[in-house]
């Protein structure tokens, strides 16, 4: 069942990609900004909801099988990350009604699922340190959602930079992109802070130290620094536009670096050694 959900999600995300191309063509051919592709937009939204349900199904069935949340392998966390992107993509559509942003974010979810497809999917047993179900599940859920928000912010920042030299009529306005990206930061940043705090509480509970400068927690802190810098400059210095967009892109690179860090970091978060 789990495999069916997984491959169906991947397939549906593939359809989203194709429809997104059709949607962009439709928007480009439309006479006024944001008027094209009404039907395609509805189908895209439907598909995103379907993917979200399917990914929830993957996580739920796996949770039932393994008895724990999606945090013990890169395969599991890639699925959780995709789930966060698609879920927040739907919420951001509901809030801002900009399908291009939500749809384009789904492409990153597709890339993550494709990556997961090449990872070993065998469920591994939890080593003693990971047998802290509540803290670890909330820690990972918050990470998946914050990464999801940051992905949408990243997509907005890229689109903003594309709009910088010449405003493209078929794309959301720079002001809208700037607003959405700011919103993703004020959602993602507190969640990332929560990830770090929950990790610290759990580390204190397990090892008696809330902070150990473990490479992955340091990488998360670096990511946090970048988003803190973005928000600081935005709220206090009034930075908007290009400078903010560039900061968001750099910050998202830090997110990706942190996510894939399990491959080259040793320490408490390295799946192969915990």
């Amino acid at each position: 069942m789990q495999a069916i959900f997984f491959w169906a999600s991947l397939l549906a995300l593939g359809f989203i990609t194709l429809l997104l191309i059709a949607y962009i063509i439709s928007l480009r051919n439309a006479r006024a900004q944001g008027t094209g592709g009404g039907t395609i937009q509805q189908i895209l939204l439907g598909l995103m909801v379907l993917v979200f349900i399917l990914l929830t199904g993957v996580i739920a069935t796996r949770w039932i099988d393994t008895g724990h949340g999606p945090f013990s392998s890169m395969y599991e966390f890639a699925i959780a990350f995709s789930w966060g992107i698609v879920g927040l993509g739907i919420l951001y559509w509901a809030r801002f009604r900009v399908m291009l942003v939500s749809g384009a974010s789904s492409l990153i979810a597709l890339a993550l699922l494709a990556y997961a497809a090449f990872q070993p999917s065998e469920a591994s047993e939890l080593v003693p340190a990971l047998q802290q179900s509540f803290l670890l599940s909330t820690h990972v859920a918050a990470a998946a959602l914050s990464y999801g928000a940051f992905t949408i912010g990243f997509v907005c920042a890229i689109m903003f930079l594309m709009q910088r030299k010449q405003v493209k009529r078929w794309m959301p306005s720079p002001e809208t992109l700037d607003r959405i990206s700011y919103h993703t930061a004020i959602v993602g940043f507190p969640l990332l802070t929560l990830v770090i705090i929950l990790g610290a509480i759990w580390a204190e509970y397990s090892w008696g130290r809330y902070w150990a400068w473990d490479p992955k927690e340091t990488a998360a802190l670096i990511t946090w620094f970048f988003y803190a810098a973005y928000l600081h400059t935005r709220v206090l210095k009034g930075w908007q536009g290009t400078r903010s967009a560039i900061l968001l892109v750099i910050a998202f690179i830090a997110v990706i670096f942190t996510f894939f860090g399990n491959y080259f970091f040793s320490g408490l978060h390295a799946f192969e050694v915990v």
Binding site: E125, P128, P190, H232, K237
Partner: protein
């Protein structure tokens, strides 16, 4: 003094420090970091640089070491940047204090009219009469949780509406939390107690030592594994004793520490141990007690553990090595290998290596060595951190501060309504963060029946 104040109260400085801290931290992620046990001993530092850093980083080793990049988070660079950030946060907080008090009070209604006249206001007309437009405006903002104050000026009405006026104090909570976090870390580090490797062998009782009067007795230790060989559980059954009286007993597992009077005891590591009896040629006991084998090593795919014991009264030491299990061709299960060396490491000289059956005496240079039994030891981490409450308070304050700043943003709008022959004319000026919720302004202009070209002001993008 003023230039120093200006430098330290700069948000730009904070930004640069944050980015530099991020960059320095990247070095801490990418470069191998010395374990705390190494940094405490200059000789071990030299050994670490030679054996670990040099093969990995070659000629750059001395450069990295010069900048403290192998122990980034205790390096002068990191500590200076962290210190400057704290000063920066403190100065920024002090600088903002008067403006936050002012924001908390809200704009004076007398000066509100003058702010509207400064030319930054958006103006429009309405079909509603001035009285109706005023009432509608008041109702609109009151329903949305604004505090609305009214003032009569120049034949019209000036309304000052503000919401979440104490929200900017959220930044104070955030800044205070950062200061508290660092204070808690320093306080905990200097006044707390830490022992990362408190080893007790099964059946043994060990005193924790000053300042604690408690001893830990390890009743038993068990390690359990899944069928795929990965670890499932480590559990130590312990008793805590004070003056030979049991004051607490229970199971210590990973994630389930034991707490005794503020001292937390964590299950940390474990390994094999033996009980060794050494008698001299005349049958006099020269050693009798547990010896831990805490040093694992692998040869030809077989993992064994070893421990070292210096023989009292001479220059000889013995390595005690356990069996790797049923597949071990050199040390079968039920046997232990004793290797005797003369001198001190690393120039010591191998004398002899002998296997001995557990429970059977082995003769060497006139002494008899009996491995009485094979046991386990449990390694505990002992910690008491009196700064912990500051850390948790800092975390809580930080989250509250973030929530208040981002989700309850301060909003303030000044509206003037003047009667006209047909309807009214109005003007408004949004103070503070002007990019917040343009939809609300649009709804407001609709509510008072604005006519003409009135639109919420577009924010100029800074790029």
């Amino acid at each position: 003094m003023k230039p120093v104040w200006r430098i330290f109260s700069s948000v730009r400085l904070a930004l640069w420090i944050i980015l530099l801290l991020a960059l320095v931290s990247i070095a801490g992620v990418l470069l191998r970091q010395m374990p705390p046990a190494v940094t405490a001993d200059p000789e071990l530092v030299e050994l670490w640089l030679e054996q670990i850093a040099q093969p990995a980083y070659g000629g750059m080793t001395s450069v990295y070491n010069f900048f403290g990049l192998f122990d980034v988070f205790h390096s002068p660079i990191f500590l200076i940047l962290g210190g400057v950030l704290i000063i920066n946060i403190t100065v920024c907080s002090l600088k903002r204090w008067p403006s936050l008090v002012k924001i908390g009070r809200g704009v004076n209604t007398d000066s509100a009219a003058r702010l509207l006249d400064k030319g930054n206001a958006t103006r429009g007309t309405s079909k509603l009469s001035a009285a109706e437009a005023t009432t509608t405006s008041k109702g609109f903002f009151t329903r949305r949780g604004y505090r609305v104050r009214e003032h009569l000026a120049d034949g019209g009405t000036v309304l000052v509406a503000d919401k979440n006026r104490f929200a900017p104090w959220g930044t104070y909570a955030i800044h205070l939390s950062l200061i508290l976090l660092i204070a808690g870390y320093i306080f905990g580090s200097y006044s707390g107690y830490t022992d990362d490797a408190f080893i007790v062998v099964e059946g043994e009782t060990r005193a924790v030592g000053f300042p604690y009067d408690v001893s830990i007795r390890l009743e038993s230790f068990e390690d359990e594994y899944y069928t795929d060989g990965s670890p499932k559980d480590y559990r130590a059954q312990v008793e805590l004793l004070v003056n030979a009286q049991v004051v607490e007993e229970g199971l210590i597992r990973v994630n389930y520490p034991m707490d005794y009077d503020g001292l937390k005891i964590y299950q940390s590591f474990f390994g094999p141990a033996v009980t060794l009896l050494i008698n001299d040629g005349e049958g006099q006991e020269i050693f009798h007690g547990p010896v831990t084998l805490p040093n694992p090593f692998t040869v030809d795919g077989l993992s064994r553990s070893s421990g070292r014991l210096d023989l009292p009264g001479n220059d000889i030491f013995v390595f005690i090595i356990n069996s790797a299990g049923p597949a071990d061709p050199i040390i079968p299960p039920g046997e232990v290998r004793l290797e005797f060396y003369e001198g001190s490491l690393p120039e010591s000289e191998f004398i002899d290596g002998l296997n001995t059956q557990v429970g059977t005496a082995l003769e060497f240079q006139g002494n008899s060595f009996t491995v009485e039994n094979e046991l386990q030891f449990s390694g505990f981490q002992l910690r008491e951190d009196p700064g912990l409450w500051m850390i948790w308070t800092a975390f809580t304050l930080f989250m509250i501060g973030l929530g208040v700043v981002f989700y309850y943003p301060h909003r303030q709008i000044i509206i003037a309504v003047h009667p006209e022959v047909k309807g009214s004319r109005f003007s408004y000026n949004i103070l503070g963060k002007k990019d917040l919720n343009p939809e609300e302004i649009q709804s407001f202009t609709q509510a008072i029946g604005a006519t003409g070209q009135i639109q919420p002001k577009k924010l100029e993008r800074k790029s």
